[in-house]
């Protein structure tokens, strides 16, 4: 077995385990920290696929920025007793399960369709230089569109928070 395969198995198993803790834990802070750990495992998987830039962004953006926001929300809401949140069978659960099944079927189809030939071979596709070149030549329009999306996010967050401040 090559080093890559061993790393893939170790990181994958630990990632799935932490993901499982995230969704099953009763304590929201435990869930959040398990998710942070999960992101680290994902970053490891990216590194294993030679996508160094993606790996570091996974930590920088997801673990470092988004999860800080999540932790803030948990503290802000002060979810004291999680037992109270236990909800009975509702239409929401039903829809969630439905979507879960659809996603699972999709995964199975993808797995069956791929013959293993489209597995990423050694390349520098994940390097910063590659991403910079692609983003500012072939994908320039999507990139500029992102700025509009981010602008909407800024305005949205201010409106959302301001309603409570005033």
């Amino acid at each position: 077995m090559s080093l890559e395969i061993i790393l893939f198995i170790v990181l994958g198993v630990m990632g799935i385990a932490s993901g499982f803790v995230t969704i099953t834990s009763k304590n929201p802070v435990v869930s959040a920290m398990a998710l942070v750990f999960h992101f680290f495992m994902l970053a490891g998987l990216y590194l294993n696929m030679h996508a160094q830039f993606m790996a570091v962004l996974q930590v920088l953006v997801y673990a470092g920025a988004i999860m800080v926001l999540v932790i803030f929300v948990i503290m802000l809401l002060n979810l004291g007793d999680e037992e109270k949140l236990k909800e009975k069978f509702s239409i929401r659960t039903f829809v969630a399960v439905l979507f879960g099944i659809v996603l699972l079927i999709q995964f199975v189809i993808i797995f069956l369709a791929s013959s293993g030939s489209n597995v990423l071979k050694e390349s520098n596709i994940g390097s910063v230089e590659m991403i910079g070149n692609e983003l500012f030549t072939n994908y320039l329009f999507p990139f500029e569109a992102i700025s509009l999306l981010l602008l909407a996010a800024i305005i949205g967050s201010v409106i959302l928070a301001k309603r409570k401040v005033d």
Partner: protein, 348 residues
């Protein structure tokens, strides 16, 4: 597989050496210098009992911290109360993986880098990522203590750190535009012959410096532990070595910030005097030592500056702090990026 084993052995040796360096240089020497200099500034004597000139004082402090009673409040969440100092110190140590302490030495035909992974393609972003993860140590420490001072301190600290992270990241963009790489070693190599980046990025350096002060929670940005209002801030409920771990991490982070600034703006391990003066060949142990000493001297000057500022400048008010971060540093940092771009395009 044998190559893998070799990498692990090499990493273990380097990691142990680096850890010793962190403990001795940043932990012991840093604390000693801080106490001596603060005493000097305040017209006191400072530690002078333990060992010659009080030099052994930090070691006595560590021993004391280990032997102190380890208190965990009944109201606290024990798991996260323990996890918080581990995250803070672990992250502070992990950053040193990408810091090069010198170029390389050739031993038995093998070029050994003076650093764990200084050529990593994403080295500088790894530092930023670790800094942003370090926020959890503080947030969890404050939250799990279930103490009002701790929670307020942690909140302030987190808001402060994430606000200044933006200016830090933008100041970094300026350096990257000049350097064109994310590898720290590559950035240092480009600064040979005294072409230090500070010449091209003076504003960027000042922005980075201010942001670094805020990121390390050092005065004048030490609001998270503003004693008159918040007791000890996020580490109020910590005692023994758990407190010591926060303390050690603070000094390690100060060392890291200094090292990063030296690497990015002051030529890193580029020697202060040309290595040719002593007839050192590239790859020789003599040159490596000279590089290490030069790097060390530059870092210590930065550390001394950190200490000097701490004992000379009063603390900011919280609104002033947030205004400085969001309304002064952020626009300046964006202007720096635009300015760098325009100037280098015009010069081309």
């Amino acid at each position: 597989m044998s190559e893998f084993l070799w990498v692990i052995i090499e990493s273990t040796i380097k990691a142990v050496i680096i850890l010793t360096l962190i403990m001795l240089v940043y932990g012991a020497l840093g604390v000693y210098l801080e106490r001596k200099i603060s005493a000097w500034i305040q017209n006191r004597i400072g530690p002078n009992r333990v060992g010659p000139f009080g030099l052994l004082q930090p070691f006595a402090d560590v021993l004391k911290l280990f032997l102190k009673e380890d208190l965990v409040p009944t109201a606290a969440n024990p798991t996260f109360h323990r996890l918080a100092p581990i995250i803070t110190l672990g992250v502070a140590v992990a950053v040193y993986a990408v810091i090069p302490f010198g170029d390389y030495v050739t031993i038995a035909g093998r070029n050994i880098q003076l650093g764990l992974a200084p050529n990593a393609n994403i080295a500088i972003l790894f530092v930023l990522a670790m800094t942003s993860v370090g926020v959890y140590g503080i947030t969890l420490g404050g939250w799990s203590s279930n103490n009002k001072y701790s929670l307020l301190g942690a909140l302030r600290s987190t808001a402060q750190m994430i606000s200044y992270e933006l200016s830090m990241g933008l100041a970094l963009v300026g350096v990257l535009m000049v350097a064109g790489t994310l590898s720290i070693n590559q950035i240092v190599i480009q600064q040979s012959n005294y072409h230090w980046n500070i010449i091209y990025q003076p504003l960027g350096f000042i922005l980075f410096l201010v942001a670094a002060f805020a990121e390390t929670n050092r005065a004048p940005f030490d609001l998270p532990e503003a004693e008159p209002e918040l007791v000890g801030g996020y580490n109020t409920e910590y005692s023994g070595m758990k407190f010591g771990m926060f303390f050690l991490a603070e000094y390690a982070n100060m060392g890291t910030s200094s090292a990063i600034m030296v690497l990015l703006y002051f030529g890193g391990w580029q020697t202060l005097v040309p290595g040719g003066w002593f007839g050192f060949e590239p790859g020789s142990i003599g040159l490596a030592l000279l590089q290490f000493v030069s790097f060390f001297i530059k870092i210590e000057i930065m550390v001394l500056f950190f200490i000097w500022v701490r004992w000379s400048v009063p603390r900011f008010r919280y609104d002033q702090l947030m205004n400085l971060g969001w309304k002064v540093l952020l626009p300046l940092a964006i202007a720096n990026v635009a300015g760098t771009g325009i100037v280098s395009l015009l010069l081309k």
